[in-house]
């Protein structure tokens, strides 16, 4: 079997269609299991009570928000360097999911901060850099959506994503330093007392669920993009398979 065959969007279209249930179904099951463990089995924290349960969704969302940006930049870079249309399409479809997870991590962070710290928002280094990450995602999405020629949109997005990736560490360190300079008494993210097994498990299961969900959604979205750009060829490939 020639793997490179599937680098062509028209060949990938039916394959993606077949793969989606294999990711979507375990994602749904793991979400159910993870949430059950998180809500009913994991004990309440002795300091934070039940509020800490937000972490079960907050932490996976924050991880994926950061990771998907890098993944998006890699795909965009491959698409630009090797003129691979499919990789560029993957980058566009990842960007929306990544932005969503970054947004979720900010919102759940605020929900967690209100009962725990007493405020919705602190200009903490991590929160500020997550906010900036969301801005970078928004820049990428708005640039791509305002360019009508898909080839130019792919490449322009790639340049922006790569510039962003180089900037992310600089931004992170500058924000961290800015934060230590400005805040007299920083509110630290509480040192975790040795985490209970069921708490850890719930978080890991939900992380896996978020991963599988991302893959499934990205595949669905990439199928839509392929259909939009190469309608006839994709339909034909699926009919003949």
């Amino acid at each position: 079997m020639n793997v490179y065959k599937y680098a062509s969007p028209t060949n990938f279209y039916p394959l993606a269609g077949k793969m989606i249930p294999w990711f979507a179904t375990p994602a749904a099951i793991l979400f159910a299991v993870g949430l059950f463990v998180g809500f009913f089995i994991a004990p309440p924290d002795f300091q934070q009570g039940d509020a800490y349960r937000i972490m079960f969704i907050h932490v996976p969302a924050a991880w994926l928000g950061m990771f998907l940006y890098v993944l998006m930049a890699i795909y965009a870079g491959i698409g630009w360097a090797f003129n691979a249309r499919l990789a560029s399409m993957m980058a566009s479809s990842i960007s929306v999911t990544g932005a969503m997870f970054t947004f979720i991590s900010l919102v759940t962070g605020a929900f967690w901060g209100k009962p725990t710290w007493g405020v919705w928002w602190v200009w903490d280094a991590r929160m500020t850099s997550t906010l900036i990450l969301l801005f970078l995602y928004i820049g990428f999405i708005s640039l791509q959506s305002s360019i009508e020629d898909p080839r130019r949109a792919d490449r322009a997005g790639a340049v922006l994503a790569l510039v962003g990736v180089i900037n992310v560490p600089i931004i992170y360190f500058s924000v961290q330093w800015w934060n230590t300079l400005h805040q007299g008494a920083t509110i630290r993210i509480l040192q975790k007392p040795t985490i209970r097994g069921s708490m850890l498990w719930s978080m890991l299961i939900l992380l896996a669920a978020c991963w599988l969900y991302s893959v499934a959604v990205v595949l669905i979205r990439v199928r839509c993009i392929i259909l939009e750009r190469e309608q006839n060829a994709a339909r034909f490939a699926e009919a003949t398979l």
């Binding site: 801005f135 360019i147 322009a156 922006l160 510039v163 962003g164 931004i171 924000v175 300079l181």
Partner: protein, 219 residues
């Protein structure tokens, strides 16, 4: 080649003096609005001065970025420049240098006056000018990437701000940080050094990214 591009853009800018001047006035007006909105307490104004001046400089630099390549793109000069055998890197460097000289350098020169309005001491004024002089080239450099990417798009001026302002954040932090350190009596040197490092990095890499973006946009 480099000198030719700079010279040509300077002449063009001189023939349209109003553009460069309007950027300068925008900067002055934005900074002057803050005391009106916040109130005339000297202590408060002094403590927010670095942030206000720097944010105003960031916003003012947005105004001139839209013009950086747009005119050349419309009359076809840009395509000719892309076709020249000289490296595009130098063309971009020259155009950005000219943009800095016409739009950013006046801001740097005007900054001490605004600092005096905010009751900033003389030593701090020196730091303010130094940080702006080191930081504004980065704004032009990173901004040129955004300008090249959004070339010829409908809503390019708004789009440039969305793309470029998040990337300006390190410059803002270190630039305003240097001034603030000087106000509270610390040494501004570490901020200035880091700002200098960012300037050098952007001088090396940004023209390259801008050239790539130009080729994508004009193709």
């Amino acid at each position: 080649m480099l000198r030719w591009v700079v010279w040509r853009d300077l002449i063009l800018a001189w023939r349209r003096r109003a553009d460069a001047l309007s950027t300068l006035f925008f900067f002055v007006i934005v900074v002057s609005l803050f005391p009106l909105g916040i109130g005339p307490e000297t202590e408060l104004l002094r403590s927010i001065a670095p942030g206000v001046v720097w944010v105003a400089a960031l916003l003012a630099s947005m105004l001139s970025l839209g013009r950086l390549f747009a005119n050349d793109y419309q009359d076809g000069t840009l395509e000719q420049l892309l076709l020249t055998p000289q490296p595009l890197y130098l063309v971009v460097l020259g155009k950005v240098a000219a943009q800095w000289l016409t739009s950013e350098l006046p801001l740097v020169c005007m900054a001490p006056l605004l600092g005096v309005q905010f009751g900033v001491s003389n030593d701090t004024l020196v730091v303010l000018v130094l940080s702006l002089a080191l930081g504004t080239p980065v704004l032009s450099m990173i901004g040129s990437i955004g300008a090249a990417l959004t070339l010829g798009l409908r809503s390019s001026s708004v789009l440039i701000s969305i793309l470029v302002l998040p990337l300006y954040i390190p410059v803002l932090i270190f630039g305003a940080g240097a001034v603030e350190a000087s106000i509270i009596g610390q040494s501004p040197a570490p901020h200035i050094y880091l700002l200098g490092a960012i300037t050098v990095l952007s001088l090396i890499f940004a023209p390259w990214a801008t050239s790539a973006a130009l080729r994508i946009s004009v193709e």
